[in-house]
């Protein structure tokens, strides 16, 4: 079985699926000849030609808007927006059209398409390169929002996204693009969109997290294990639609929940998860649902980034706090 890091798994999945499905076209800034600034689309142009993998002008609204028309006329566009912060110029096309075409036309026009971009901080990059905007997308009806955390999941979720009849926002945790490798089956497999993954079972506390924070969380959990605390760790995998069942079931078992995210705290995905457990498992709650997040500030430039990124010790401390509440 090949052993891949996240970016390789991504490239591999694209390669495999483009071979199978001639309607897939891949494009974006530096995506064609160069193969993407993170090399996610490397070799695709050489292999499938310039019409199926190509460079675009610096034109995010254009890229996404053009994809809308392409999807309607029989193609399956996979667009890359170069960084999380450069999704904003495309917001109007995403919110006003990508998410709405099916509903607006009552099913006459549909948009099988994928919008990929790297998100999150920790790579000591320039401004606008370290954002975690998942809450903005998740709030929009008509979108699906996915964030894989491992090479295995990356391939499985990307294939699912490519085969989804609806648009999928595919957020790639760039900090772990090359952080570790994993066996990735050559075979075809998909990971269902909308299903979370229980990464580690436990009974003392439920932790929900996604993207690059999964690894940091697991490290903190290991430390907690040594103290006899056994959290259950859920990798959300899909942010919207959320796997509410898995979260609720776990919270009913543990009575306690902690959400770990890299995004700022307020009006965030973590907030929704807390609202959810209140709605569905209120009487099981033995401690206030808690969040470990960034503070509500603009992501600092790299020399201040360490104060922004949730520190593993914060996770560890919060685990203890939640587990020891009122006991």
């Amino acid at each position: 079985m090949p052993v891949f890091n996240n970016i390789q798994a991504l490239n591999y999945a694209l390669m495999q699926e483009m071979e199978k499905d001639p309607s897939i076209v891949v494009f974006g800034e530096d995506v064609g000849y160069e193969g993407g600034v993170f090399r996610a689309t490397v070799d695709l142009q050489a292999k499938f030609g310039v019409e199926r993998c190509f460079d675009t002008p610096i034109s995010e609204s254009g890229i996404v808007g053009m994809a809308v028309g392409m999807a309607i006329n029989g193609l399956k566009p996979v667009v890359e927006l170069q960084f999380c912060g450069f999704t904003y110029p495309a917001f109007n096309q995403i919110i006003s059209h990508v998410s709405r075409m099916r509903n607006r036309s009552r099913g006459r026009y549909t948009l099988p398409m994928v919008i990929r971009f790297p998100f999150g901080g920790g790579i000591r990059a320039l401004e606008h390169h370290s954002e975690s905007p998942e809450a903005l997308f998740a709030h929009i009806p008509g979108l699906k929002v996915v964030a894989p955390s491992t090479p295995y999941d990356t391939k499985g979720l990307l294939l699912a996204a490519l085969r989804d009849p609806d648009p999928v926002i595919f957020m790639e945790p760039k900090r772990i693009y090359r952080a570790f490798k994993q066996e990735v089956p050559e075979d075809d497999y998909v990971i269902e969109i909308g299903k979370a993954n229980i990464v580690k079972e436990g009974e003392d506390l439920t932790i929900v997290t996604w993207g690059a924070m999964v690894r940091d969380t697991l490290k903190a959990v290991e430390k907690a294990n040594e103290k006899g605390i056994h959290p259950e760790v859920i990798d959300l995998r899909t942010i919207a639609p959320m796997d509410r069942e898995t979260i609720i079931k776990s919270v009913k078992k543990t009575g306690r929940i902690l959400i770990v995210q890299e995004a700022v705290k307020s009006f965030s995905v973590a907030s929704e998860i807390i609202a959810l457990v209140n709605e569905k498992a209120f009487l099981h709650l033995e401690a206030p649902p808690a969040r470990v997040t960034a503070p509500d500030i603009i992501v600092p430039l790299p020399r201040g980034e360490q104060f922004y990124m949730p520190h593993p010790d914060m996770i560890y401390e919060k685990i203890n706090e939640v587990v020891n509440f009122l006991t």
């Binding site: 675009t56 002008p57 808007g65 006329n73 193609l75 096309q93 099916r102 009552r106 639609p241």
Partner: protein
């Protein structure tokens, strides 16, 4: 080629039929069979009937917001007539003439302005995207449609309709630029009706013409008398032919006028002079086409009276049907968010449905 003969930088505008119905450029007059000429004129008249009726229904509180078409019939019908069935159209919201020319049924059109999404569901054989409210956002869709046709080897062109105000948006620029780079078979049809709600065109841009903007993108633009159906057809046909031949996009500025209000929420007397409107009434696209046909003996007053009466009745039937059955079906607002309802949507659907059912509101 017309695009070369009528260079916008030289202040030229293509006109074939003058406001008095005289052919002033005989050699440019498109060859259109007589029955087709009559058919086109009937579409034009029908457009006006449908338009005025819609306005009336709206004033009676029976229709919701409506965006009047009067004055822009020639530029829409002439251009749409240059398309084949397989070609794609990405409209803004004021394209009644083009919609009717391409065969969208009246019920669908009215349903939209009645406030029901079913009005955006054109039938499978008609290639028109839904109304696009966010100004100029649809231009990019046209480019994408064209790109797809091109790489899939399909002989299809795409056309985007938009207004003078639409040229100010970033999406206009990005669409024009992308179409230029990929040489997509796309026609950008700018209906310069002189106004964007209350804002006159010289507040939209300092450019002398809209047509010349094409030159910023490596392709050509042409300014056309938008109230002249022959000029509009000729210019669009040339652009369509060039697009089919792989020669890429064209920008057409249809120089026209919105004779009515921006929408039924708007009162144009607040911002423009009656004199201006009257001057443009003289250039009415229907009037000049009618005179031309009458001179050729293809049309007369009686024909018009009979046709309009027949169509008015037809329109009334359609609208009363809508008033009976045009409400939004509750299920529909949940059904089309995704191919399949997500679990949370299923839950909400049940909850909301129960709520409204209990109250007999469904």
């Amino acid at each position: 080629m017309l695009v070369d003969q009528y260079n916008p930088f030289e202040g030229k505008m293509l006109q074939i039929l003058d406001p008095d119905g005289n052919v002033i450029e005989e050699k440019l007059l498109p060859e259109i069979p007589e029955d087709e000429l009559v058919r086109l004129f009937k579409i034009m008249l029908f457009t006006r009937v449908v338009d005025r009726k819609a306005l009336m229904y709206q004033r009676q509180g029976r229709m919701l917001t409506y965006a009047p078409n009067e004055g822009q019939e020639a530029c829409q019908i002439g251009s749409a007539y240059a398309l084949e069935q397989r070609d794609w159209m990405a409209p803004a919201f004021r394209e009644l003439g083009a919609w009717l020319t391409r065969g969208v049924d009246l019920k669908t059109l009215y349903l939209y302005w009645y406030g029901n999404e079913m009005g955006s569901k054109v039938s499978e054989d008609i290639r028109i995207l839904p109304v696009s409210i966010p100004i100029s956002s649809q231009l990019l869709h046209a480019v994408g449609l064209g790109y797809a046709a091109k790489v899939r080897g399909l002989d299809e062109v795409s056309i985007a309709y938009f207004g003078d105000g639409g040229t100010s948006e970033g999406d206009f620029h990005e669409a024009m630029n992308l179409a230029g780079v990929y040489k997509t078979p796309t026609i950008f049809l700018c209906q310069n009706n002189q106004w964007s709600i209350s804002v006159p065109k010289h507040f939209q841009t300092a450019s002398e013409t809209f047509a010349q903007k094409a030159y910023a993108y490596g392709f050509k633009g042409i300014k056309v008398d938008g109230n002249d159906i022959f000029a509009m057809y000729a210019a669009t046909k040339e652009a369509v032919d060039r697009a089919r031949a792989g020669e890429g996009p064209t920008l057409i500025e249809a120089y026209t006028y919105r004779l009515g209000a921006h929408t039924t929420s708007d009162d144009p007397t607040r911002y423009r002079d009656d004199a201006e409107v009257e001057a443009w009434r003289e250039k009415d696209p229907v009037k000049r086409f009618r005179i031309y046909l009458e001179k050729r003996g293809l049309w007369n007053q009686e024909m018009e009276k009979a046709f309009v009466a027949e169509k008015e009745e037809e329109v009334e039937k359609v609208f009363s049907d809508i008033e009976q059955n045009g409400g939004t079906v509750f299920d529909d607002i949940f059904m089309y968010q995704y191919a399949e309802m997500t679990p949370i949507l299923r839950e909400q659907y049940a909850e909301w449905k129960a709520f409204f059912q209990e109250r007999g509101m469904l």
